[in-house]
Symmetry: C2
């Protein structure tokens, strides 16, 4: 019941999304690829912190990365996660 693999998998994705910096990253990557230093500047945290957020999103399968010279560019793999935004707004509107 509770131990169904689909719950475990969904929990992993939901946990990955459940942080404002990570939501911001997903939102930003919707526009297109960005490297770690660009995202770091926008977020305003330590680069190591941003790098860890990115690896959490990658481990969850939400984003992918490509190394170009000495920079790493991240891109959104699953634009559908952002459809969730509209549901969120509905939730907030209904109450």
């Amino acid at each position: 019941m509770i131990n169904e693999p689909r719950y475990t998998e969904m929990v992993a994705v939901l946990k990955a999304m459940a942080h404002s910096s990570r939501l911001f990253i997903l939102d930003k990557l919707q526009e297109g690829e960005h490297c770690v230093c660009e995202l770091t500047e926008l977020i305003g945290a330590d680069i190591s912190t941003v790098s860890k957020h990115l690896s959490i999103l990658r481990d969850a399968g939400l984003i992918g990365s490509t190394k170009k010279q000495n920079q790493v560019f991240y891109r959104l793999l699953c634009p559908c996660v952002l459809d969730f935004y509209s549901c969120m707004i509905k939730i907030k509107g209904d109450n």
Copy 2:
């Protein structure tokens, strides 16, 4: 940017969903109302634990409750949260 209220609100909803027992509850409430003791039996945890999960989901605006005699029945307020399931499956399928 990161501090936009919409991110804060979405994080609250995502955190509320990011637990296998709570996903199970949302899934179960899709069928219709259930009282705390029914959910407790299905989940197999302490009733106090289940009660706390339910209050987390209620605080996030995902479920609502009605007291009938000495039982409390919970119902899904936002069936759209379950649309997210299909996106999850897509995520898992793509990788």
